[in-house]
C-alpha cells in the first residue's frame, strides 16, 4: 500500500457514527454521483457483507442518500437525508444482499436511473477511515478513488487511441497526472482512466466521445 496523507488518519471531521459505514457511505455516493454526471431520478442501494448487516445502525442508509444529494461528510443535514431526498423527489430503496466473499467487507452496488432514462450501475467499496473506491461501472472494471478528476473511457482496442485522446486533453490545456490502460484481449474492448489536474470541459469530453470506436466516456470529478 502507498503512503497516504496523515490527514487520512487524523480526520475527517464528520457526522457520526462510523467512518467506514457513515462517512465512507457519504463519500462513495458523492463519487457515484460524479460518475453519473447528471441528476439521478431513482436508486436502489444493493448492500453486501458488513454493509448489509449493519446499514441501519451505522447510518449507512442516511449517508448513502446524503452523498447523492451533494451533502458532505461533515454536513449537519446528513441525519435528515431521507426527508430531504423525498422533498427533492429522489426515489430510493435498500436491498441487503446475501454474503459475497469475493467483495470487500463494505460494498454497495448503486443501481441508478438517471434523468435521461439511462440505467447506470456502480460498484463501490468503503475501506475504513472514509477511504473509498469504485471498482465497476456497468460491466466495466475500473479503479476510481476520487482523488483526481478522472476521464474514464471504454473503447475498441486499436492503434492511436491514446494519442487521439490525449491530444484533445492537451488542447484543453489540462495536465495529465497519470494514465492507466487495460484491455481484455488484443483488438478487443479496452479501458483507459486518465487522472487530470483539472476537470475536463464538456466540449472536450464530447470531442473524445466522437473519436471512432469509443463506446462510453465518463468525466468523473474528484470528491473533496
Amino acid at each position: 500500500m502507498d503512503g497516504g496523507s496523515l490527514f487520512d488518519i487524523l480526520g475527517p471531521v464528520m457526522i457520526g457514527p462510523s467512518s467506514s459505514h457513515t462517512a465512507g457511505a457519504v463519500r462513495l455516493s458523492m463519487l457515484a454521483k460524479n460518475v453519473a454526471g447528471q441528476p439521478i431520478k431513482a436508486v436502489v442501494f444493493k448492500l453486501y457483507n458488513s454493509f448489509a448487516k449493519t446499514y441501519q445502525g451505522h447510518g449507512t442508509d442516511r449517508g448513502l442518500v446524503a452523498g447523492l444529494l451533494g451533502l458532505n461528510v461533515d454536513d449537519d443535514r446528513v441525519p435528515e437525508a431521507f426527508e430531504r431526498a423525498r422533498q427533492q423527489g429522489l426515489v430510493f430503496s435498500f436491498e441487503p444482499q446475501p454474503n459475497q466473499p469475493s467483495y470487500p467487507p463494505n460494498t454497495v452496488l448503486f443501481d441508478m436511473t438517471l434523468e435521461d432514462g439511462e440505467q447506470l450501475q456502480v460498484l463501490g467499496h468503503s475501506l475504513g477511515g472514509g477511504k473509498v473506491y469504485i471498482s465497476r461501472i456497468n460491466e466495466y472494471k475500473v479503479s476510481l478513488q476520487g482523488e483526481y478528476p478522472t476521464l474514464v473511457m471504454f473503447y475498441h482496442d486499436e492503434p492511436g487511441m491514446i494519442w487521439q485522446t490525449t491530444r484533445i486533453i492537451a488542447e484543453a490545456g489540462i495536465n495529465i497526472a497519470s494514465l492507466v490502460c487495460a484491455r481484455k484481449h488484443k483488438g478487443e474492448e479496452a479501458f483507459m482512466a486518465i487522472c487530470l489536474d483539472h476537470l475536463l470541459d464538456p466540449e472536450s469530453v464530447q470531442a473524445i466521445a466522437q473519436i471512432g470506436n469509443v463506446y462510453a466516456v465518463r468525466n468523473v470529478d474528484k470528491i473533496v
Binding site: G4, P17, A23, S50, R62
Partner: protein
C-alpha cells in the same frame, strides 16, 4: 539531508524501524518526521499543516464540550449519560485514579456519545475509535501539572497520525477488515505515542509505548450490539485512554517492548486475517450475540428504523 535524499526516504518509509533511525540520526522527535513526511507528501508548507491540525483540535474540543454538557439519550437510547456521570466523578476526589485520568475517560465517552447522536466528531483513526486520542490530549491540556499548549497538542497529534499512517500501510483501519484491534486498538497505540511525545520521551520510548499498547489489545473483536457504534464501542474508548496511559507510563519508566513494534503490527495483521467474519463488524458474534444483545436487537427491529421510527 538534501531534498533529494529526503524524497527517496519518504517514498521508501514503510517501517517503524526506519522512522526511528531517521529520528535518532537527525536528533528529532517523531512529530518532526511526521511534519516532514506530510510536507513532502502533499507539497504544502509547515504553516498549512499546523493550521489543519489546529482545525482538528478545535473540533475535538468542541465535540468534547458539547458531549460533556449533554446528557440527552443517543438515537438508540443505549447511551447518552455516560460522559456526564464521568464528569461528575472527575470533579470529586477519587481514591483510585488521578483527576486527569478521570477527565480522559469522560472526554472519550463524551466524544463517542456525540458520535452516536450523529453529531460532528473527528475520526481518529475512525469514528468508532474517535474518543481515545482527543481524550488523552485534551485532558492533558487541562491538567495543572502538564498544561499542554495547543502547539504541543499539534505535535502529539502529528505523532499519532504518523503511527496510524504506518499501520494503515499494512492493514485497513476498520472493524470490518481487522476487528476492533484495527480501530480502538490502533487509536490506543496512537494515543500512547502522542503521550510519550508530549511528555518528552525519546522516539524509542514512543515506539515502545505504541508496541505495548498494541500488544494488549491484539485480537480485540468488533462485536457491536445491533450493529450500532455504541455497545461496546463507547466504553472501549474510555478504557482505551487508560491502556494508552499505562503503556506510555511504562515506556517513560524505561520499560521496553520485548517484541519490536514492526513485528507487533505484523502479528496484528495476521490475527486480523485469522479472525472470523462473525467478529468483524457484522454483529454476528461476541457481545452482539449475547441474550441481552439479541433482545435489544429484536426490540430495535420491532421499532423498524433506529434513527427515525416513522420513516420507511
Amino acid at each position: 539531508m538534501s531534498n533529494e535524499i529526503d524524497k527517496t526516504f519518504f517514498k521508501q518509509l514503510k517501517s517503524f524501524a526506519q522512522a526511528l533511525d531517521w529520528c535518532e540520526a537527525n536528533h528529532q522527535p517523531l512529530s518532526a518526521l511526521a511534519m516532514a513526511y506530510e510536507m513532502h507528501r502533499r507539497g504544502v508548507d509547515e504553516a498549512a499543516i499546523l493550521a489543519q491540525t489546529q482545525t482538528l483540535i478545535d473540533q475535538m474540543r468542541a465535540t468534547v464540550r458539547a458531549g460533556s454538557a449533554d446528557a440527552s439519550p443517543t438515537l438508540s437510547g443505549l447511551t447518552g449519560q455516560l460522559a456526564s456521570k464521568m464528569m461528575a466523578a472527575a470533579s470529586a476526589p477519587c481514591r483510585l485514579m488521578s483527576p486527569t485520568m478521570l477527565k480522559m475517560m469522560a472526554y472519550a465517552l463524551a466524544t463517542l456519545e456525540e458520535n452516536s447522536r450523529m453529531h460532528r466528531i473527528v475520526a481518529c483513526p475512525t469514528a468508532g475509535a474517535s474518543g481515545v486520542v482527543p481524550g488523552v490530549l485534551l485532558a492533558l491540556s487541562e491538567s495543572p501539572d502538564v498544561a499542554l499548549s495547543d502547539a504541543q497538542m499539534q505535535r502529539g497529534l502529528l505523532t499519532a497520525g504518523l503511527v496510524g499512517e504506518l499501520v494503515s500501510r499494512r492493514m485497513f483501519l476498520s472493524g470490518a477488515a481487522g476487528g476492533c484491534q484495527a480501530e480502538v486498538g490502533v487509536a490506543t497505540g496512537m494515543a500512547a505515542a502522542a503521550i510519550v511525545e508530549v511528555l518528552g520521551g525519546t522516539p524509542r520510548q514512543v515506539m515502545d509505548a505504541t508496541a505495548m499498547a498494541f500488544k494488549n489489545l491484539m485480537g480485540l473483536v468488533c462485536d457491536p450490539v445491533a450493529g450500532l457504534v455504541e455497545v461496546p464501542c463507547t466504553k472501549r474508548n474510555a478504557v482505551g485512554v487508560v491502556h494508552a496511559s499505562a503503556a506510555a507510563t511504562m515506556a517513560l519508566a524505561g520499560i521496553e517492548s520485548f517484541v519490536p513494534l514492526d513485528e507487533v503490527v505484523d502479528a496484528m495483521v495476521k490475527v486480523g486475517q485469522m479472525m472470523s467474519p462473525k467478529l468483524k463488524e457484522s454483529a454476528e458474534g461476541g457481545l452482539a450475540m449475547t441474550p441481552t444483545g439479541q433482545a435489544f436487537t429484536q426490540q430495535l427491529k420491532a421499532k423498524g428504523n433506529v434513527h427515525s421510527p416513522e420513516s420507511e
